[in-house]
Structure formats: C-alpha cells, structure tokens
Amino acid sequence: MQTFDAIVIGSGITGGWAAKELTEAGLSVVVLERGRYVEHGADYHTAYKHDWQLPNHGLVSNDVKKRLYKQARTGYATNPDIAHWFVDDRQHPYQEQQRFDWIRGYHLGGRSLTWGRQCLRLSDIDFSANRVDGNGNDWPVRYKDIAPWYDKVEAFIGVSGEMMGLEQLPDGIYLPPMPLNRVERHMREVLNRQFNGRALTIGRVAHLIGSGDFGARQPCLYRGRCMRGCPTGGYFSSLSSTLPAARATGRLTIRSNTIASEIIYDEQKQRAIGVRTIDTNNHKKSAVYASVIFCCASAIASTALLLQSKSRRFPNGLGNDSGVLGHYLMDHHFKVGATATTTKFGDSYYQGFRPVGFHIPRFVNLKPREPDSSLDFIRGYGYQGYATRGDWRRGFKELSFGKAFRDDMLKPGPWQVALIGFGETLPGKGNRIYLDETRKDEWGLPTVVFDARFRENEQRMRSHMQSQAVEMLSACGFDNVQAYDEGSYPGQAIHEMGTARMGYDPKTSIVNQYNQVHTVKNVYITDGAFMCSGGYQNPSLTYMAFTARAAAHAVGQFKTGF
C-alpha cells in the first residue's frame, strides 16, 4: 500500500502551489497528474524555433484541425508551435448540451505553461457582490482574509505591475511594470483627462522584470514566445517555480500519466483515505493513500472527480449533501469591445516583444450598494487591450499583390488599437455540469456534459462594453473606430470556475472558508471550483492565494488531527 501524508491531484497552477506549501511544511506529497511528464526547458521543443522551422511556417495542419476540433475554436490552440499543450478532443471527449469551450492542457504543469499570466486581485467589491445583489451565495471570506496570501503568492511567483491605489483592483507586491508605448501613453492621458475615474495601466503579469535575484529563473527576455514554454523561467509556471521548490524539499513524488478516478471514502473514519488511479498508458488500476487530499485538477475536472466518487454515504458524489455540486458554473464573457487605427505617432515604434498589453480596470458599478441608475446591468467589467504597429499580416485584408505591395508590407503599418472587454458572469444554479454515465471515455470514466449560457445581465453588460470602448477610442482621436461583438461562449475565456462553491452553510455549499469539504474534512478543493463569484479579474492569482491558505490550514489540521 502506497501511503503519503498528502495527495495533490493535478500539477497545474494550483496543484503546484499545494505541492510546494505542503512539502515545505514537512509533509510527504504525491502529485497525481493525468498527463505526460514534462521536463522544464528540455521539453519546450518549439521554444527556440523560428517560423520557417515550423511545419508550414506555423500554419495549422488539416490533421490537427480534425483532432483538436474544440480546442481549435480558440483560433490559436492548434498552432503547430503550441498545439502539443492542448488536449486531443477525440481522446478526451466531453459533451455540450449548450456550447462550452473546455480548453484543457493535460501534461505536467497543466495550463500554467500556456496561461496569459495576468494576475489581478479580487476586491471587497467582488467578495461582497453576491451578498449585496442576492445572486449566488455570500463568500465566507473578505479581502482582508486573503490579502496576506495574495502577498505571499505574488512575492514568490514574481508579478510585474503598477501600483494604482484603486479600491476595485487592490495593489499587490510588484516587480517593476513593463512600460507603455507611445500610443498607450496617449490613451492613458486622454482617459485621465476626459474620463473621470477611468485608468489605463500596463497588465499585471507573472513575469520577472528588473534586476533582482530570481534564483534559478531569469528575467524576461521579451521574446514574446511564452506559450511555447519559457526555458529560462521568465514567467511563472508550476514547472519553473512551485514544483522545483517542492522537489527541493526531498518530499515530493510525481506520478504522471496517472488519472485520479475516485476519492475513496471510509465510512467508519468519516473521511477520505486515498485516491483510486488509472495508468493512462496501460489502463492499470491502482490506489494511493494519504491523510490529506487536495483537488487541484481544475474546476471542472475536480468536480467531475467528486461526482464520480460515489459511496453509500455520498450517493450523489463526495461531499454533495447539498446537491449544488456541479452547479453555479461561471466564466468571464469577452470578445467584445472596439478597434481603431491611427496614423498619429507615425515615426514612433518600440523594440522587444512585450508579452502583455494594457489594462483598463473596472469603472462601472463601483458602489454596488448604490447602483448606478443609468446602467441596466449589475456587476462590472474591465478591458485588456493593445496598441501595436501592424506587420505584414495587415496585407491579408487587402487584395493587393506584386512588388510594391510586397515591399510596403515590410514596413511598420499604422498603429492598431483594440479594447477587449472581460465581464463578470452572474452565478446561477442553471449553469451547470453533470456526468453522462452512458457515454464513457477510453478509461471507462463518464464524460462531462456542459449546460450553461450567458444570460440577460451579461448581454446588457456587453452593449455597454462596446459603447464605452467606442467612446474611449474616439476620444483618443483615433481613426476607423469600430465596435465589435464576436459573441462569447462559456469556456472561451478559459476562466471556468464554480461548481463546488464555498460557503458558510453545508446545505448550500460544498467547501467551507478554508476550501475544506464541509462533510469530508480532509479533502480540500482549491482550484477554481470553489469560487462563489468571479469578478471581472483573471482568476488564477486568487486560486493560488486560496490554495496557499488552504494548505496552511491543512497542515495545522494534519498535525492536530482532522
């Protein structure tokens, strides 16, 4: 019998944190990872490739389009430089009662290798939102409870950003911000001058900037090839950061190609005692045992695992007395805003491939208790955006050809500006996942079915996201200002969260304020499944902070007994 102090399921952003915190506290930990093993650096086989060294210079092959047909909806996951970081939809099927883009990465490090690295804190506006407007349940946590954990995470992973002093987007512990370019600075000035309360700042991202001592990691080299994996560790991933820290304790065991298929519940002990596993290569079934279990398989996978973990005590899934397991699924809605061009600042350019754009923090409904009567929606949104000089790709849109066209496309094109809104989704019971026991995957596990959509509040918010983007770009004096709404489907923002929500009351929630399953105290769910609401902010920083906090709690309980 293989026994550890703790089992961590998943090695992505949250699993890496759980492994680091638990091993550093003295626990022996096994990380179960369903995907293949990845060696940091050595296995980023496209990291140093130039376009002409990629198949078809980076064009997506027909074959990959067929295998990754859902991941292909992103428009980038099938690109030959990164397609190996996204799952093969044929091998890992799921079902859509309503369209849901479940964008997954099954390999050591999970999506920490491909994430956009935006790190934004939630504020008390977010933590109190459910209570104020009655959607969802009240968070059992407020900003002051989690702030020290945000500090801890940011200090460890390294986040570059600018202090803004905004209530809606609390400041953190930051490395120097990356600079704004000429057009972005112009936009910032216009917003400051003409739009009371609106700010523009550079994105807050998990990149090492500046000249500090970063240990085995090195400062970002501005290659802008992050999604291929960064061999020098310029950005945070489990592989560059948390797993090496865990490994350094000598208490970490990693089991790749190992699916956690069920959490084993012991009725006499009234707690979980281990996890059943399946070897993805030979389908062999096995089990590992431990005193503490951390579910970090990402929101949907962890909830699916709980739903799969049925027993006499929990016929509807582990910890699911309340019946809310699988419900209150959220994501951010986006793909809405405005674009523009400008011939101003024509001689201005930049050097280096800055791996992040700018950010316009939320500016609507900042006083939720006194709703803005001019708005027909609640909650809020922010924008991510960029201002760059067009390259030769702008020629795709033209129907030109020949030598003059060829030479013209070598030159920097006009500035192109885009604002992309990211809006909050209301937590609602109707947005859910469930398991289909009749359709199983290669390993005999039931497939996940998604049944969720964006609703009226989100649609109304989107109109505002468009009109405000147009207003701001117009005020900047740009040309060709055009609103767009490409339509957004849940999952596309890859911020899927909820489905095992946190709460005070075991009758209406799955985990308590420490991410502990109410009724199975030695099981913690610390990926996005626990989220009660999503704010508009990219959520992974919050998952990491809660994971670190839950790990500290688990260590205490481990020592005193659950």
């Binding site: 078809n56 501005y222 350019y349 050097q351 800055r354 070598l410 030159k411």
Partner: protein, 181 residues
C-alpha cells in the same frame, strides 16, 4: 508510392531531372479522380505546373532578390496540401484550371497578362475564383514573410531582444522595416 503534395509533387518530379520538353504530364497531384494508397492522384499537365509557379511569382515576386531561393510556389503548394480541407483543395484546383484557360486565351506579354489575370481574379464577383485565388495569395505572403531570408535580410531580425524599449524612432533604424524573430 511516395506521398506527394498537390502540385509540388509535379514540381519535385521536374526538379528530379525530368526535362519539361520530354514530359507533358507529371504523376503527382492530389485530386478526387483516382484513389491509390490513401491519396488521390492524377496526371498534371506540366504546363499547369509552370503556370502555378508563374502565378505565385507574380503574387509575391522573389526573382529580383539576390540569393533568395525561396521556392515560394513549392511552399504554397505544400501548405495547400497539408493545411486545407479536401473541399478547399478541389476549389483551388478548379480555380487554377479556370485561370489557366483564361490566361491561354488572353493575348499580350506573359507578365502583363498574368498581372491582369490576377487583378481581375481577386476582384471577381465569382467567389469560386476570388476566394481560392486570395487563399493562394495569402499563402504566398506567409511563405515569403516568414522565410529565413526575409526575416534576416529584409526585416529587423531580433529573436532575443532582452529588453523592451517603448519608444524608438523608425527614422533612426538602419532598416525601416518591422521586427521579426
């Protein structure tokens, strides 16, 4: 039989030593007419192959560039074969056949004729002509601007900048072209 690509198979066959004067057709092109070993092959008239190369050269010319062996037609052809669906391949084939016939009917110097043919084709109301031709144009662009020659010789090649400078002047750059990596 070796897997060959769209028209490039024919180009490769020509390159392998078959003198164009001796062959009228080359065994290579993927199409829907016959099925062998999982691929669909047909004899391609050499003239069509030559026409295709000529067309690509007029979309994105490379002959005037010193030492630039970009083999753009071959790139475009391979990209069509590997990145386009069977349906798109058939559409492209039909479009090429149409253009080829039209080209043969047009009088005038080869270069001016080709330029006019492409201009008319891209602006054509008939989507079956304009669409596939634009696809070929875009693939030629990809092949050209992402080639090693263009990256290193014509663009500002900067694979590891090491820093981000938010404001430089284009007029002060040695090459006033975009960054490439």
């Amino acid at each position: 039989m070796q897997r060959r690509e769209f028209i490039t198979g024919a180009l490769a066959a020509l390159g392998a030593g078959l003198a164009p004067a001796q062959v009228e057709h080359v065994w290579a092109r993927v199409c829907q007419t016959s099925h062998r070993e999982g691929y669909c092959y047909q004899f391609v008239p050499v003239k069509t192959v030559t026409f295709f190369t000529h067309l690509v050269e007029h979309l994105i010319p490379t002959r005037d560039l010193t030492n630039a062996d970009l083999a753009l037609a071959r790139f475009v052809d391979g990209a069509i074969e590997q990145t386009r669906s069977q349906r798109e391949k058939v559409q492209i084939t039909r479009c090429l056949e149409h253009l080829y016939q039209r080209y043969n009917r047009m009088a005038g110097a080869p270069d001016t004729t080709m330029t006019q043919l492409i201009g008319d084709g891209l602006m054509a109301d008939d989507e079956e002509i304009a669409g596939p031709l634009n696809t070929i144009r875009q693939l030629a662009m990809v092949g050209f601007y992402t080639s090693e020659y263009v990256a290193r010789q014509l663009l500002n090649f900067d694979p590891v900048p090491g820093h981000y400078d938010p404001e430089i002047k284009i007029s002060e750059l040695d090459k006033r072209t975009t960054w490439s990596r």
